[in-house]
């Protein structure tokens, strides 16, 4: 049997599947150059090729596919935001997630198991109630639940009354779920490449050439390439790359840390998040417990984790699930997140013509990967910011029309 398997494996009749073609030289020019091969850049490339017939596209990454925050996030997918524009936007993304495995022919391990966010204060109960109402109004499944219902949804949660901050109520979001973060990058990459998109890894963008207010070429460590359009989707490096195009952004880069435990038998179905304790957990299909929390206390571009943040995150998580103390940590890491003042992204036009922004995704951008690629592709194809993302325009900071999601984002991702 093992020999037969070996023979099968090496038979030329069954070649190994290559997700993307082998590396080649850069062309002299492309219609569209996408800076950053994270989920967002690749989703944009896929949508350009599939829905707008634009395939003369290069996606450049200084590292490897999906090695940025796409590889580092905790994969919470939800739409229970508070402003109508954000709820509509993230709802559209959840809809795309539902059919993504079929669309790409690539398992996304998307599982809509619901997300429970806990309120430990009167203030949280009030804002959760508002969120539930806004959500329902826009067709998103969210409702307030009391302590008894919480016990039914997550029986193993510590509902003790003598916790430092006892649980008062919860926001139960049935549409919440999780997906496999690497799959989304590789699924979009593979399908985009099959339609002719070139993906160039280890290709760092070092400059943006502008002539008469319009982008003309992108400089890289492998030479300069001409382009009609360029878009940046570089998450934590947003400010650094935008500066190459002479654009200043209202973004600050902070590390965000997370960790997983050893795998254990399945016991936790929904995703659980606590606004008051700045901690959230979920159990992966493999059985690991994913633990995430709040950002680091000061701006930084270093992805080195810190013991103090991990310690306080663990302490908060143990308040919710004291028996986690029996588990061992398996891995821990950090990513650099591009935080905006209002916790909403910055998408669409920039002050430079044909240079497009997909930035300010902070701690919440994984769930937007499908919809942002769709909207950015539409924006580039029509040379006009797509209607759905108009509220996230950079100009909102000039007109003070901010889209405040601080409360609905901070600790729930």
């Amino acid at each position: 049997m093992p020999l037969g398997l070996l023979k099968y494996g090496f038979a030329s009749k069954y070649p190994a599947r290559r997700d993307i073609p082998a590396p080649k030289d850069l062309n002299k020019s492309y219609d569209v150059v996408i800076i950053g091969a994270g989920g967002h850049g690749l989703s944009t490339a896929y949508h350009l090729a599939r829905y707008h017939g634009i395939t003369n596209v290069a996606v450049l990454d200084k590292g490897y596919i999906g090695g940025g925050n796409t590889a580092r996030n905790t994969a919470v997918v939800r739409s229970n935001y508070i402003s109508p524009e954000a709820v509509a936007f993230y709802k559209a993304s959840v809809e795309l997630f539902k059919n993504l495995a079929n669309e790409l022919g690539y398992n996304q391990m998307y599982s809509q198991r619901g997300q429970l966010t806990l309120a430990h204060s009167d203030a949280s109960v009030r804002t959760f109630t508002l969120r539930a109402e806004v959500n329902k109004h826009l067709g998103v499944r969210s409702e307030m639940v009391d302590r008894k219902q919480i016990r039914e949804i997550v029986p193993c949660l510590n509902m003790g009354k003598n916790m430092r901050f006892p649980i008062q109520a919860g926001l139960w979001h049935r549409d919440g779920g999780t997906a496999r973060h690497d799959s989304i990058a590789w699924g979009y990459a593979m399908r985009a490449a099959q339609m002719g998109v070139e993906i160039h890894q280890r290709t760092e963008v070092t400059g943006v050439n502008i002539n008469a207010g319009k982008v003309t070429a992108i400089e890289t460590n492998r030479g300069t390439i001409q382009c009609n359009h360029a878009i940046q989707a570089v998450a934590g490096m947003s400010s650094v790359v935008a500066k190459m195009a002479g654009i200043q952004l209202p973004i600050r880069s902070y590390p965000l840390q997370a960790m997983v435990t050893q795998p254990v038998k399945p016991f936790l179905d929904p995703l659980v998040s606590s606004a008051g304790l700045h901690a959230y957990v979920s159990q992966t299909a493999r059985g690991e417990i994913v633990i995430g929390g709040g950002s680091d206390p000061y701006e930084l571009y270093s992805t080195r984790s810190t013991l103090d943040l991990k310690e306080s995150l663990i302490a908060h998580t143990l308040e919710l699930f004291p028996f986690f103390a029996e588990l061992k940590l398996l891995r821990q890491w950090a990513g650099i997140t591009d935080m905006t003042p209002d916790y909403s992204p910055i998408m669409g036009e920039s002050p430079v013509k044909n240079y497009w922004l997909d930035a300010g995704w902070g701690t919440w951008g994984f769930k937007a990967t499908p919809i942002s690629g769709k909207c950015m592709a539409e924006t580039i194809a029509q040379e006009k910011t797509a209607a759905m993302i108009q509220p996230f325009h950079l100009d909102r900071f000039k007109t003070f029309k901010l889209s405040n999601e601080a409360g609905a984002t901070a600790a729930s991702h």
Binding site: M237, S239, V240, Q248, L249, P250, I251, R252, S253, P297, Y298, E299, L300, Y301, S302, R304, T306, L307, D308, P341, F397, K398, T399, F400
Partner: protein, 91 residues
């Protein structure tokens, strides 16, 4: 725990401090256009490299200046604010 050398209190755990962002000139709001004021309010250099910032030791409410590298997370220099502010700033 990372240690920050406070000019007033000496070396302390960095968790005792709060970072208040880059040292910038406070413009006169009466002399700015709306757009310039919005810029001052929201825009950020977000420098990858050496920055000069305001920090505060929370326990003693002591404000001072820190120079640090945001790529390597090294604290390069800490000193009292009067080393760069020679006169009182009115606003």
């Amino acid at each position: 725990m990372k240690i920050l050398n406070c000019p007033l209190n000496g070396p302390r755990n960095i968790s005792e401090f709060i970072c208040f962002g880059e040292v910038t000139d406070m413009p006169n709001p009466n002399e700015l256009s709306d757009e310039q004021w919005a810029d001052y309010m929201w825009m950020s250099n977000n420098t990858a490299g050496v920055v000069r910032e305001w920090w505060c030791h929370a326990a003693t409410s002591y404000w001072f200046i820190v120079e640090r590298n945001t790529i390597t997370d090294e604290i390069l220099k800490t000193y009292p604010a009067n080393e760069i502010f020679k006169e009182r700033v009115e606003f």
